[in-house]
């Protein structure tokens, strides 16, 4: 069952093509991550799918409704959390939730029950009387998510919800998304961070307005060509200078306390170690490593797509 489908979805702002020919289909209950740098077109895509921005070309159906012809119905079917989610800073946590319940026509006992459940869900029970403006960054994001969930939408559109949030709050936020996923909610989330993509069922890489590839994170990681090794040495610069002499050398990169090597052939780590120690390099360790999404993304960005 598909909850969202977009065909050739495109948006121009004057001469700028913000999104071009985006094709996307989400199955019910799926968590899909739209990954890409600032300016790649992620926010424009989400705004079109949330029916707050009309496409210049193409079409999309969200929860069975056409985004251009039935924008009001789309908005009732989705929970949309834009980057600048407008919470009312002077209103308390509880009042913000009551306000959003009113907007979506959730009233009386139903409203009270849902608000209680969402407060518990977002771990905000102890803060119900605090003004939203005085919450920490992570708590604001959780309150914004709770507000977006007040009408129990089957589909969530989240635009960089963890931006500027510290790792602990970020993990907690993803735990909440995990619970929603288990409850069958379909989630489309954008992020500039590759490590968050690992938590999605499928990931789409966006670059310059185009969705250049979509697949499961594990499948995307395998797109990076060659075999990856991590070499630990106190002499990283010397190691980098020696790397091109290795048989089957494709590329290398200093990465913190280690050198990442990409080789055409799966050489045994001992052979790689012998090469470097043979040139007088002090070695701590050579380990086979798994390419990250970042390497796959770099490969895709530098290779023309069909």
């Amino acid at each position: 069952m598909s909850t969202l489908s977009a065909h050739h979805l495109s948006r121009r702002f004057g001469p700028v093509a913000a999104v071009t020919d985006l094709d996307l289909t989400l199955a019910g209950g799926e968590t899909f991550g739209l990954i890409g740098p600032d300016g790649a077109g992620k926010t424009t895509t989400l705004r079109m799918l949330a029916a707050v921005l009309r496409p210049t070309r193409g079409r999309a159906e969200v929860a069975g409704c056409d985004i251009v012809r039935q924008p009001e119905r789309v908005r009732r079917q989705i929970g949309y959390m834009p980057q600048q989610f407008s919470l009312y800073g002077d209103l308390s946590v509880l009042e913000n939730l009551q306000f959003f319940a009113d907007i979506f026509g959730v009233r009386g006992t139903a409203a009270r029950q849902r608000i209680d459940r969402l407060l518990q869900f977002a771990r905000l029970q102890s803060f119900i009387h605090r003004p939203a403006g005085q919450l920490s960054g992570g708590m604001k994001k959780k309150l914004a998510l709770a507000c977006a969930l007040i009408h129990q939408p089957p589909l969530l559109l989240l635009d960089e919800p963890t931006n500027g949030v510290d790792p602990i709050s970020r993990r907690e936020f993803w735990e909440i998304l995990g619970e929603l996923r288990l409850a069958g909610v379909t989630i489309l989330i954008t992020t500039p961070y590759m490590d968050e993509a690992e938590r999605c069922d499928r990931v789409g890489l966006m670059h310059q307005g185009r969705l250049i590839r979509q697949d499961a994170p594990a499948a995307l990681r395998q797109l990076a060509p060659g075999h990856m090794f991590a070499l630990y040495t106190p002499d990283l610069l010397a190691a980098a200078a020696l790397a091109p002499g290795l048989p089957g050398h494709l590329s290398h990169q200093i990465y913190g306390d280690r050198l990442h090597l990409f080789l055409a052939d799966p050489l045994p780590p001992q052979v790689i170690a012998a090469y470097f120690s043979g040139h007088g390099l002090r070695l701590r360790q050579v380990l086979p490593d798994t390419p990250r999404l970042e390497e796959a993304f770099i490969y895709l960005m530098s290779t023309p797509q069909p």
Partner: protein, 309 residues
């Protein structure tokens, strides 16, 4: 402008550094040092004391106790001398969008007391280093994100500081630009410039030579990223693939495993000695349609979370 050559020795030495606000201890007797030419990552959640520490290192806030020396300068006694000797680059760094690349650099150069021929030479060197010579007349607002980041770095190195503070320097930048930006940082480090990086993002933290984690005002871990991952993780991470994640997570929690989270279609469970419990867990998870499980290396984020809980 720099009146004496920077003395040798570590770029930053912090000993028993403490800051109290009334009854609240924001920074609690921390010790660390940063070597010259090192890329040092300073990590901590919001409210951990991270920003208070940096403000003391910049000489903007006097310590309550303990000492810190930055480029040989005592932050308590000669606070005013630090800010102009270090570079500072933040993701919120205020470049003027309506000015050209060269005009922005001139503005920051003058702010640091550079004039005339020296200013022109330093501007030229900085532009060459970050690869923006061809863009010098371009309006800053029209630069792509990755180039603006490089311009911000150029502005931070104009006065040739021996130490640069960088706050989330590559947040939101595409991976290719991020990679070339980090190459610039490694080049600076190779020339003995010290880089002090703060970030919430483990992608950036992993690229530092050495890391320190601060939490509740105390340093809780310090070392190279690889070393921290190998030594500072009490538990093991078990990745589980199964048909009914919800049932599997409930079963794991009932078996006393508290740290269980969903990663896409997989489950990550963190606990000590999981490798020895595999037969037991495999029986436990069989009803949930177990398809496979393996111990995987912890991510830096796993280690970070494990150490602050």
């Amino acid at each position: 402008m720099i009146d004496s050559p920077a003395p040798a020795g570590p770029a930053i030495i912090v000993a028993g550094l403490t800051k109290r606000f009334g009854h609240f201890t924001a920074v609690d007797a921390i010790d660390f040092s940063v070597q010259r030419g090192e890329i040092f990552g300073f990590l901590g959640p919001n409210g951990s004391g991270k920003t208070t520490t940096i403000r003391m290192l910049l000489g903007l806030l006097p310590p309550t106790a303990g000492a810190a020396h930055v480029l040989g300068i005592d932050v308590a006694r000669r606070a005013g001398q630090i800010a102009r000797r270090v570079g500072y680059m933040s993701q919120h760094f205020s470049l003027y969008p309506d000015l050209t690349v060269a005009e922005n650099l001139d503005f920051y150069g003058r702010a640091y007391g550079l004039r005339g021929r020296t200013l022109r030479r330093r501007r030229q060197e900085a532009l060459a280093r970050v690869g923006l010579e061809a863009q010098r007349r371009q309006i800053t607002a029209s630069l792509p994100g990755g180039w603006r980041q490089r311009l911000a770095l150029a502005a931070a190195i104009l006065h040739e500081p021996a130490l640069i503070f960088l706050d989330e320097p590559t947040a939101g930048v595409d991976p290719v630009s991020r990679r070339s930006f980090w190459r610039l940082l490694y080049d600076l480090a190779a020339e003995q410039t010290t880089l002090f990086v703060t970030t919430h993002y483990m992608d950036e933290a992993e690229q530092c030579h050495r890391l320190a984690f601060i939490h509740n005002g105390r340093l809780i871990a310090e070392g190279a990223p690889g070393q921290i991952k190998q030594t500072r993780m009490a538990g093991q991470v078990l990745e589980i693939r199964c048909e009914q994640p919800q049932a599997a997570m409930a079963a794991l929690r009932q078996a006393g495993l508290a740290d269980v989270a969903l990663y896409g279609r997989r489950i990550h469970a963190i606990a000590p000695d999981l490798d020895r419990r595999l037969p037991e867990l495999s029986a436990l998870l069989a009803p949930a349609g177990l398809r496979g499980m393996q111990i995987i290396p912890p991510s830096l984020e796993d280690v970070f979370i494990a150490n602050v809980q």
